[in-house]
Symmetry: C2
Subunit: 439 residues, 2 copies
């Protein structure tokens, strides 16, 4: 049995070094200072910051760091004798973050990271290093910010076979989609507003193209399915292709558009894909507003679990990082991906085209005789059966908007029909298609 | 650092005895059988049922238990050398459940329980026993069924000062409220339907009077505020006083009625109360349908966390119980209430009357001259300021329904006004009042 701290025993402080003192790093400093006593009671020992390191010591960070030792060289955090835990907040899948993480684990120090890209790309190697040195590797902040979803899946739902894990994993996209919904805005206008308000970066690629969500999805999938992390198998379609009419038609159909990262295991393998979907109004993901994140896991005994909270920001991210540190302080941790790396399966990539479901399809077409017939023929030839069809007669983006919903069928049929139609001279721009989330 | 299982080391199975083989007990057997291999991978060792005990061995339970050793005497589970973990599913705050729990912990065995009443009444004593013997006491299934909310609060949100913890803690009441909403049913009809469908018991007191929710709330409060469990300080108002018009008027005001258990710490002490509330449509609790449960925690760094899932039933409850067993198998556990019992504060009971907020008030009155003036005068004399007032002119329960919403003010003023009005000959039945949940 594990060592339960005796109420009278006084354990030595856990000594923490922070690498990368940006918005999140400052949040961790503030949190550990503000909740110091409470954390010591909960952790059974004090948690002390002993050293900081970042590129620029003299940047004004709006928080007084003068009480802490500063190391210009991040490597010094790893070699220091008085550091038990290294917190990596440098960012980037490779480079200094990875060098630091490897060195810390290799030196037998505990590693806490918020770095989804690094975990998605190198999580298995880092977990092996951690196993070899019997030291913790924790990354709660890497997925869904402040929501303790890594813990909920690794531990809370651990008795279940998970059928699907999915959710809203990128707050920037959800903020943009919420703006498009509420303001009837175009994607470009909503993106510009999100940038102006600090919810989207100047180069929004990582967020709006689904790359960030793909990183997080790969981590959730490994935890839920006991499979080896495989970021190369995750595909992503972002939200750039959405137009205002998509949001409006989705609503008319009783749905909301959300960027969903979905992982599901079927007989062909593991499906991991990020794409905009139509979420039915009676699904809780339809009510996740603004920059929030939410994760759903469906277990064979527990049924549907739903977790919602802030997916980013200094406070929520710091909350997740410090929760990891408290777990370490309590000696309550184990293998990073719930089981040793060698026990994880290597999953085949599922045949995405074989996935059966209803789809929303939207085309912008020239308003001329024969276009409807062309669409209907392409659908028929590809074997797509149409359930409903809407042409409102209003223009958008240089043409007429046609939206339709298919009967349940394989995604490959939709792709084939749209490949035909994309080549048509009468179709303007790229057709949009989104699966309708099955309850 | 805690012992991380080496990938090659083979740990001995964790041996589990189940006491109380009802719906939940059978669920645990089914789960451990169905997910046996997966659980062994995740736990790092096999989890084996070695013995069962319940009052009636020969009852048909719909599951084959012949492979397991049966003990007619529950005490034999505690004295058996081959039992590591005793799972208590007997139920009841005292009696055989408590005797078993004390004996198991006293014998140094791990105890897993789904028994909210026992934890609410005797959790501190049991936690002391567990501490004295350095053995785990786990109770994830006691609150919100399959939702891993004990873990989320004890560990996931552990870095935060929690401002409020609250939620829908009783699925039976939420099912009844959802029926009243959808079918425009009376409380009595909705209760009868819930009973017919197995969602409510023949004697529904425990559920509809808020007692079950109060037990769960007391546990959440202790975890979130680091206070000693104090079920005597929890007050509860159930949902029997609701009429169809309350649900309708709440909707007209953009709200839904939910039975909310709320714990909040203020300068006067700890407030712990279960009562029906008006939940604004832009709060996620407004979208929790049917028998689901949901818990909200508001932390000073993480912001608002929201967890939803099945609050009862064999599968979800078994999921929570087995998650606890897996934590024990992994040696990932610590003090039952996040810190040793002696480190928990003893909180004063907050002055509930001083709580400031907006309220919904509904009266059924005789349709005669002067009644409105009587209401207005009683409100004025008690210092209650009225924001809106609705009299639709339709009858209900032998009178005319009058609903009003107050400006923010102390609850004591509402209570004073309603005490006056309850004594009036012109008021039919008992006035209803509900706080409007502040976002």
């Amino acid at each position: 049995m594990s060592p339960l701290p005796s109420p009278t025993a006084s354990r030595p402080p856990l000594r923490v070094a922070l690498a990368g003192i940006g918005v999140v790093g400052c949040g961790v400093v503030r949190l550990l200072e503000a909740n110091r006593e409470l954390i010591a009671r909960r952790a059974g020992r004090a948690i002390e910051i002993v050293a900081l390191s970042a590129r620029d010591r003299h940047k004004d960070r709006g928080v007084d760091l003068s009480a802490y030792r500063w190391e210009d060289d991040m490597g010094a955090l790893v070699t220091a004798d008085d550091v038990d835990v290294v917190v990596e907040m440098v960012g980037g899948a490779d480079g200094p973050a990875l060098t630091l993480a490897r060195a810390a684990l290799g030196a037998g120090k505990a590693l806490v990271t918020a770095n989804k890209a690094m975990i998605a790309h190198h999580g298995l190697d880092l977990a092996r290093l951690a196993e070899a040195r019997d030291t913790p590797l924790k990354y709660e902040a890497a997925v869904a910010g402040g929501i303790p979803v890594i813990k909920a899946l690794r531990e809370g739902a651990s008795a279940n076979q998970i059928a699907r894990v999915y959710g809203i994993l990128n707050g920037t996209c959800n903020y943009i989609l919420t703006l498009m919904e509420r303001e009837r805005a175009s994607f470009a206008d909503a993106l510009a507003a999100a940038q102006a308000e600090g919810y989207a970066e100047a180069d929004p690629t990582f967020d709006v193209d689904g790359i960030d969500a793909a990183h997080k999805l790969s981590i959730l999938a490994a935890l839920c399915f006991g499979t080896k992390l495989d970021i190369g198998a995750v595909t992503a379609t972002g939200i750039r292709g959405l137009i205002a009419a998509d949001i409006r038609e989705a609503e008319a159909l009783g749905h909301r558009v959300r960027l969903i990262g979905m992982a599901e295991r079927d007989e062909t393998g593991l499906y991991q894909h990020v794409q905009p979907c139509l979420v039915p109004a009676d699904h809780p993901l339809a009510y996740v507003p603004g920059a929030l994140n939410a994760v759903v896991a469906e277990g064979n005994f527990v049924g549907r679990l739903f977790f919602e909270g802030a997916g980013a920001g200094a406070g929520p991210t710091a909350s997740a990082i410090v929760a990891d540190i408290i777990d370490i302080a309590r000696d309550e941790y184990g293998p990073a991906f719930a089981m040793p790396v060698d026990a994880l399966d290597r999953a085949a990539t599922a045949d995405a085209g074989a996935r059966v479901g209803k789809h929303y399809v939207r085309l912008v077409v020239e308003d001329r005789i024969g276009v409807l017939a062309e669409i209907a023929t392409a659908m028929r030839d590809a074997g797509v059966s149409i359930e409903s069809f809407i042409q409102r007669g209003d223009d958008a983006d240089g043409g007429v908007v046609i939206a339709l919903v298919t009967h349940a069928g394989p995604a490959s049929a939709i792709h084939a029909a749209l490949a035909t139609l994309s080549a048509s001279d009468h179709v303007v721009g790229t057709p949009m298609h989104m699966p309708i989330l099955a309850l």
